[in-house]
């Protein structure tokens, strides 16, 4: 793609609102324009989502006024959010992690084992998070210290861990009916005024991660490492450690996501997490985080996840057959990428 096709974002906006007399003035001096400029990726994603929903609603107005539709999306969406958000960090850092589905399965397996053994589910959650942390560290160390391509190495780890789960369990699932009476279920997975409570936890996680990304040393270093690892090193940043940390973060997120998915279904399947690989990756990029690293948006990724999870429900609810789901998935992804391409210039 030629450089000339990318719009120069500065010239049209850069000269217009310079307030004379103030030492620093900039297009972003006007709060609204600044807000739009700083958040154009996530706002673009929001626009895609709104247009998509409008199309669905025009196609079938009645279904979209029923609460059930939203309730079902709000039950499954949180699981995706817990992995989409850490993946934004990974992609910003210039890496990719395809091993999170297996980590979800592995960590939730540990959760299931602890609960099945009669311990409190809270202990199970703690065990799952520890498992996720360790697996994230293992995958991260393999990529960073082993000097492997994260694309291939994490793909390999995904098969390896999933295979391990299947071998040991011989494909058998674990039922956890005792969960329904536990405090952990009430706090993490029940309903509150008809709203699935896990969405509140997911939103809290997104807000925390957005702060971590924009207002914390970790986020700042992740962006710099993804942008220019050589200069980050020259300026005294431990580049390898930062890279390992983003994989650990994904491991933790995947563990939480896996645990939530088990709590929703009261059952652990050896395939737990498998179906999330492609929707979650699509969410990150639909959300406006570019593939080349250095920049990204956590909130955009979250909106991307909402968009992707509404596609399937929306297509069916709009009266189209299930065959259309994949087609619309692809259409939304391509349109979003074209939009972001136009929306953000890449600086070198």
């Amino acid at each position: 793609m030629s450089k000339a096709m990318e719009p120069d974002l500065q010239t049209p906006l850069g000269r217009t609102s310079g307030q004379v007399g103030k030492e620093w003035s900039h297009p972003s001096n006007h709060w609204l324009r600044g807000f739009v400029l700083d958040n154009r990726a996530s706002l673009g994603t929001l626009a895609v989502f709104i247009v998509m929903m409008a199309v669905f609603m025009i196609a079938n107005p009645t279904v979209f006024t029923t609460w059930y539709l939203y309730s079902s999306v709000l039950t499954t969406l949180p699981v995706a959010l817990f992995v989409v958000v850490p993946l934004v960090f990974v992609v910003t850092c210039g890496e990719i992690d395809l091993s999170f589905p297996a980590t979800m399965g592995f960590a939730s397996w540990v959760f299931a084992l602890v609960v099945q053994a009669g311990y409190d589910p809270f202990l199970g959650i703690a065990a799952a998070v520890v498992t996720g942390t360790l697996l994230g560290f293992l995958v991260g160390s393999l990529v960073v210290y082993g000097g492997l391509s994260s694309l291939i190495a994490t793909l390999g780890m995904n098969f390896l861990l999933r295979g391990l789960i299947q071998i040991i369990n011989e494909g058998k699932s674990t039922s956890l009916s005792s969960l329904a009476d536990s405090w952990a279920y009430k706090i993490f997975s029940s309903q509150f005024w008809g709203i699935p409570v896990q969405i509140f936890w997911a939103i809290a996680f997104v807000v925390f991660a957005a702060l971590l990304y924009n207002r914390h040393r970790f986020g700042a270093q992740v962006k710099v490492v993804g942008d220019n690892p050589d200069s980050a090193k020259q300026m005294g940043i431990d580049v390898k450690l930062v890279r390992v940390k983003v994989f650990v973060f994904t491991g933790i997120g995947a563990a939480i996501a896996g645990t939530f998915s088990v709590m929703i279904n009261f059952t652990w399947w050896p395939t737990a997490g498998d179906g999330y690989l492609l929707p979650v990756l699509a969410s990150v990029f639909v959300g406006g985080t570019p593939t080349w690293g250095g920049i990204g948006t956590v909130v955009g990724g979250a909106i991307g996840a909402v968009t992707v999870s509404f596609i399937q429900t929306g297509v069916v609810a709009a009266g189209l057959s299930g065959f259309y789901v994949q087609f619309f998935n692809g259409l939304i992804i391509i349109l979003s990428l074209l939009g972001h391409k136009w929306n953000q210039a890449r600086y070198r």
Partner: protein
């Protein structure tokens, strides 16, 4: 001139059989701009690497404020107040000016949360100090939107942040347009006005001539000439001299100056 910030005495550096530096004497005083000139392969880069502590000399003494130092290293060099702006500038171009200035030394409060306002305040102060202000951009601007000269300004602002006393600028005007070069000169003059010293390394003799108080010409690993600005009439003099060094002949006036200095 005031206090002597750093002095190199008879520095030699060899890579195997090859001598990159064969006994170089160089000193920088407080508040002066020293221009280091030399052809490709004259040993400029090696000298910079030694000053910034990246490379250790084979032999010779390094004196910081007239005191000899042992175990010279990159950390020691920075402790001594020497900051180097390398040729590639080491900027993360998709990040803001603030993020680049505080790269690797973010201002954080408890738990590692950024002190965003403090960082902006400090960045503004640093940029003002080198006269790097504009109506078009703020500390929040993305470095990739800046011109080459402005990017050099970000790198210089980052270098002076830790009360650096000597800033080494490695080819800061290479690949810059005339106006951008003027900008860099402006920054350099501001840094000098604030009482700091600069070692300005350049290919382009005209650039170095415009900015430096003192010239050091390096040739094949040796100092071929040290001259104060008053001793050199024009950039052409310097160019003639360098050609002379390459093809022996002579510029008597300049040689006298060099001998007096030594």
């Amino acid at each position: 001139m005031g206090e002597r910030i750093i002095e190199l005495r008879d520095i030699k550096k060899s890579y195997g059989q090859v001598y990159a530096l064969g006994g170089v004497n160089l000193s920088v005083d407080r508040g002066e701009v020293v221009g280091l000139i030399g052809d490709n392969g004259a040993g400029k880069s090696t000298l910079i690497k030694i000053l910034s502590g990246v490379v250790k000399p084979t032999s010779g003494d390094i004196l910081v404020r007239d005191k000899p130092v042992n175990g010279w290293s990159a950390a020691r060099s920075r402790d001594a107040g020497i900051e180097t702006v390398f040729q590639d500038r080491a900027l993360a171009v998709q990040q803001t000016i603030v993020r680049n200035i505080f790269m690797g030394r973010e201002l954080t409060g408890s738990m590692g949360w950024l002190k965003v306002n403090k960082e902006i305040e400090e960045a503004s102060r640093l940029m003002r100090e080198i006269g790097f202000t504009s109506k078009v951009f703020t500390p929040h601007s993305i470095v990739g939107q800046l011109s080459g000269g402005e990017r050099q300004g970000v790198a210089i602002a980052r270098a002076i942040y830790k009360q650096a006393e000597l800033i080494i600028l490695d080819e800061p005007t290479t690949a810059l347009s005339l106006t951008e070069t003027a900008k860099v000169f402006h920054f350099v003059r501001q840094v000098r006005a604030s009482g700091r010293s600069i070692l300005f390394i350049g290919h382009n003799i005209h650039h170095v001539f415009d900015i430096a108080d003192r010239f050091v010409v390096l040739d094949r690993g040796k100092v071929a000439l040290t001259a104060d600005r008053s001793e050199v009439k024009s950039a052409e003099d310097l160019i003639n001299f360098m050609e002379d060094v390459a093809h022996p002949g002579g510029l008597p006036g300049l040689h006298d100056g060099a001998e007096q200095r030594a």
